[in-house]
């Protein structure tokens, strides 16, 4: 019989703990495919965050370090400076990267650390039960904004890709979404490009991945994908904000 589909080699066969409809699984696979296609599995080190993806180390067959909340870019810096030949990436959510870890991500980008950052923006603190994130949309109800996020109290949601794109240097900064197959393919290309930016020693790379959290939004998986398309993309435009060598 002809084999038409096989598990991506870099993925382990562990059952993922993510909620049904969560796109962490898709993002994990795209990262695994990029590592596989670049042939760098044996020299890749992943940094797992604090958040829903804390156990990412169970799902990719590579070396892993688990980091304190928000500190993944600093941990990645330590590894990369010791082992410049290794391929180092962080996998972080919006609480981890855009709240408690804001200083670490900005300065890793400023130093143009040769690391890759996969930033999952689902507009909420998923693991702790759906509290407000810096990326929570205006009007979005969360357990800590029960009447919806209002600008007067909380300000506007943070656009991380645009923020990092303001930093000088050869950076690769892109925002993608996983709400439909065409966008998943685009996300794949961006993640591959991000890893290539590191492998070719060109500079820092970050891909912001828009993602739905059906559990905390209290909607179905399909509705969560539609929610990303209809509510997140208008505020978080997709595309490449910086490519090594200049502004995209």
């Amino acid at each position: 019989m002809k084999k038409v589909f096989a598990r991506t080699p870099v993925l382990t066969d562990a059952n993922m703990h993510y909620c049904p409809g969560c796109t962490h699984g898709v993002a994990h696979r795209l990262v695994a495919e990029a590592i596989d296609e670049l042939g760098v599995q044996g020299r890749t080190v992943g940094i797992a965050p604090v958040g829903c993806a804390v156990m990412a180390y169970n799902y990719l067959d590579i070396d892993w370090m688990q980091a304190a909340h928000g500190r993944a870019p600093a941990v990645a810096t330590g590894i990369k400076r010791v082992r410049p030949e290794s391929v180092v990436f962080t996998y972080q959510g919006d609480g981890d990267l855009a709240a408690i870890g804001t200083a670490e991500i900005v300065h890793a980008a400023m130093r143009n650390e040769r690391i890759t950052v996969i930033f999952i923006n689902n507009a909420t603190f998923g693991m702790t039960g759906g509290q407000m994130a810096p990326t929570t949309l205006i009007g979005q109800k969360t357990t800590t904004t029960p009447r919806g996020r209002d600008v007067k109290t909380w300000g506007y949601p943070l656009r991380v890709a645009e923020l990092l794109a303001a930093i000088n240097g050869d950076l690769y900064i892109a925002r993608v979404s996983l709400h439909d197959p065409a966008n998943v393919m685009k996300a794949k290309r961006a993640i591959l490009k991000a890893f290539k930016t590191q492998v070719e020693d060109r500079g820092f790379s970050m891909v912001e991945v828009l993602s739905g959290c059906s559990t905390n939004l209290g909607i179905s998986a399909l509705e969560a994908l539609r929610w990303v398309e209809e509510n997140m993309i208008p505020y978080y435009p997709l595309g490449e904000f910086r490519t090594p060598g200049g502004v995209a």
Binding site: R43, R81, V82
Partner: protein, 355 residues
């Protein structure tokens, strides 16, 4: 002949680290330890290492965590408020069994405090400092020479136990210049680190992690860590004994206050008070053995500190109610004078006589 150099404590600590094979330094500026990172910024690139000034103490200690996880001999240095920020990372380093060296040139606190020398971070250093059940091995050197020696040893014991090691100095030790000798032809003995995350190659994946969601497994991990801490308590205490054989008043002091106390003990002896000193060189594990030698004979123990009384609690634990334990301390950056310590020795001697 060993090389003899005149160096500031901060510089000697940095040079000793490099000679011990440390090639990576991550830190953030803070007085009174800036000469240490500045020395590293000059020297490390010359020996193929990396100096990196981080955006914060939090970032610096987490860079140390990453570098140690990648198998490097690595250190950071700071002073009191900065070391408080590092506690998050130190807890993770201990939990993940990652070796590193942390220098704290202590200044007066609490809060922003001052920039003058103090010993008021003793509790923080010797009780773990961050969250969870863990300990760090803590050295409290008393001279620039001893600072250099314990720095070199610190990297070895950090690797031996796979645990963070703290070198607790103060502004005096960091800033003062003294002659220091480094051993000739010293080659650091750095063990293999097969657990390091360097990319798995063709082998099985490695994981450096402190998350244990099953309570029984987390308890088991803690019991494993505790075995290492017990081994440290058994094998690592170091101390110096000064005039202990006939001492009626036993001063207990480390670092800068031990230097002051040494002068006070000579003055006491000159006026007929047999005073002696236990000078802990490791603050954790605290050296309890020398207390057993003199606890039956001593009229009193006197803990002398640049704090409001922290190490005195360990002295009480070591003496265990068998003799009076007294305390004399100045704090906030004030260094006690030998005359003040002499007065405290006299008081302890007289009070003991009255009993």
């Amino acid at each position: 002949m060993p090389e003899r150099l005149l160096m500031k404590g901060n510089e000697a600590a940095a040079e000793a680290a490099i000679r011990a094979g440390c090639r990576f330094f991550f830190g953030y500026p803070i007085t009174p330890q800036n000469e240490l990172p500045e020395y590293m910024a000059r020297r490390l690139p010359e020996v193929g290492g990396v100096f990196l000034q981080a955006e914060s103490e939090l970032a610096a200690i987490n860079m140390v965590y990453g570098a140690s996880g990648a198998g490097a001999r690595v250190m950071t240095s700071s002073s009191s408020p900065g070391v408080t920020l590092k506690q998050e990372g130190i807890s993770y380093l201990a939990a993940c069994e990652l070796p590193c060296v942390i220098v704290n040139m202590v200044r007066g606190g609490p809060g922003l405090g001052g920039i003058q020398p103090a010993q008021s971070d003793y509790f923080q250093a010797t009780r773990g400092g961050g969250h969870g059940d863990y300990r760090t091995l803590v050295f409290g050197p008393g001279s620039v020479q001893e600072l250099a020696e314990v720095m070199m040893r610190a990297f070895d014991v950090a690797d031996k136990y796979r645990n963070p090691v703290v070198v607790l100095g103060d502004g005096v030790l960091g800033q003062m210049m003294e002659p220091v000798e480094f051993p000739d032809d010293y080659t650091p003995d750095i063990p293999e680190k097969p657990w390091a995350c360097t990319g798995k190659g063709e082998g099985p994946k490695r994981l450096i992690n402190s998350l244990y969601l099953v309570p029984e497994l987390l308890e088991k991990h803690n019991l494993h860590l505790q075995e290492k801490f017990s081994a440290m308590e058994r094998d690592e205490p170091r101390w110096e004994e000064v005039d202990l054989d006939d001492a009626a008043v036993v001063v207990v002091a480390y670092g800068t206050t031990a230097r002051v106390s040494r002068a006070a003990i000579e003055m006491a002896r000159a006026e007929g008070i047999p005073a002696g000193m236990i000078r802990p060189i490791t603050l954790w594990p605290f050296p309890v053995t020398p207390f057993e030698k003199c606890v039956g004979r001593a009229r009193a123990f006197l803990s002398v500190e640049m704090s409001m009384g922290q190490m005195v609690e360990d002295v009480r634990l070591a003496v265990a109610g068998r003799a009076p334990v007294r305390f004399y301390g100045r704090t906030g950056g004030v260094i006690p004078s030998p005359r003040e310590v002499l007065a405290a020795i006299r008081d302890a001697f007289k009070a003991g006589e009255a009993q």
